[in-house]
Symmetry: C2
Subunit: 258 residues, 2 copies
């Protein structure tokens, strides 16, 4: 059996995967999280080089983990493999994040690598159905935010939304759920509303799984919210113990529904 490599972005997740067994760490130049401590430092423009480096290290299984972002490609640095892939990547990019990430997975699979999700390596971190901290309150505001996300999912928009007192107070856009929570804090404080966080229907959980950590709980509390609802089986709890402690400190309920 071959080795495993983590293609690591920003945040706590790459570190949490260390508990799932030995793995090489790959980091991409220019991505959030930096390249310190990486076993392989790669460039988006030199995917052919990355394929070779992974094979030379005996890697057969890949896991993408942590936040990445779209970044400009320096066409002067392209290797032939990446040059050949550029038209399809550009086309996928125009169809949204889901399409782009699905295509990236397909490219690595076509090179013979198995792509595993962080939730497969650490199933103990996946949100279970029911109350996670405090009480489960899946009605009212939570149901309204859930309906909005269900309507937007087919358009590849929105992993998170906030409703309070029956009204929508925030709908996640490109800027992400932290920016949305800061907007709610600035413009609709004291709503006692609910943050709902779910995967989009087309989302490939192996490469783009929603995650929640203690920082999100603190931001939700600062926005005056009273609870957070997750999609059971589809959201990673980044450090369940710290998450529970943050909920307790801020008086927030945390639960998951199918």
């Amino acid at each position: 059996m071959g080795a495993r490599a983590i293609i690591a972005g920003d945040g706590a997740l790459p570190g949490l995967l260390a508990a799932a067994g030995p793995a090489l760490t790959v980091r991409l130049q220019g991505m959030p999280g930096g390249t310190a401590g990486a076993d392989i430092v790669a460039r988006l423009e030199r995917l052919g080089q990355l394929f070779n480096d992974l094979r030379a290290a005996g890697v057969t299984e890949l896991c993408f983990a942590g936040a990445m972002r779209r970044m400009p490609v320096d066409t002067g640095l392209l290797d032939p493999e990446t040059q050949a892939l550029l038209p399809r990547l550009t086309a996928a990019m125009g169809q949204g994040d889901d399409a782009l990430l699905r295509d990236i997975v397909a490219i690595f699979e076509a090179e013979g690598f198995a792509v595993r999700g962080a939730h497969e390596l650490r199933p103990d971190l996946v949100a279970p159905a029911g109350a996670i901290h405090g009480a489960a309150r899946p009605d009212g505001d939570a149901a309204r935010a859930r309906a909005v996300l269900a309507a937007l999912g087919p358009l590849d928009v929105g992993q998170a939304a906030v409703a309070g007192q029956g009204q929508m107070l925030g709908i996640e856009t490109l800027q992400g759920s932290d920016a949305m929570l800061r907007f709610v804090a600035d413009t609709a404080p004291g709503s006692r509303g609910v943050l709902v966080k779910r995967a989009k229907p087309g989302q490939d959980l192996r490469v783009d799984m929603p995650a929640i950590g203690p920082d999100t709980v603190a931001l939700a509390a600062a926005a005056g919210l009273s609870g957070i609802e997750l999609q059971a089986g589809h959201v990673l709890l980044l450090d369940p113990a710290a998450l529970g402690a943050a909920c307790a400190a801020h008086g927030l309920d945390l639960w998951a529904v199918p």
Copy 2:
């Protein structure tokens, strides 16, 4: 033929209706815009009194104009007519703004008043299809934002959205489109994106018609946008000349599509 009354909220629209012929001005205690200059000062809690005052002044036709907001009802001040209406108003309130406004129209109609929309009194202020200032660019970002609004409309959410470079950058929530544009300015400046503003499918244009004025153009420019698309026939241009001047000053295209 009876007299006309404008039930006036905040903003420029009540003043623009003066050109449509003589009318009494009604203002509600506590609403944005104040009560200065009103012919009749009314209270939400005393609708029976308002019906009487309107009839005493010979009013047969009403026009709601300008921004209003939900406000707390002081139950100690209720007159019997409002007391009797409270259960149905409370129920409508729980179903969202559209339902509430439709119910308010129905209540005034049941009292024998004809309810006319601002667009019926000033058809010259309604956005026409095609280029209004600069070029019409109804593709790409505009189409994406339009698709998001179409998905949300049945849920009574979203009269406005911003897309830039193929991505959603803002979706209007309770806080309104100005707050959304400030969010885009703070979190995604320089996108050269497009603001799309449309009526929701269930929206009664007689009482809740989307409107755009020079202030919106300035906010869109501050958010780094390059254009604004309206729904033809469904958005009021608050002062078309000032709107054109604002577009010219900020280099924004303004157009409408069906």
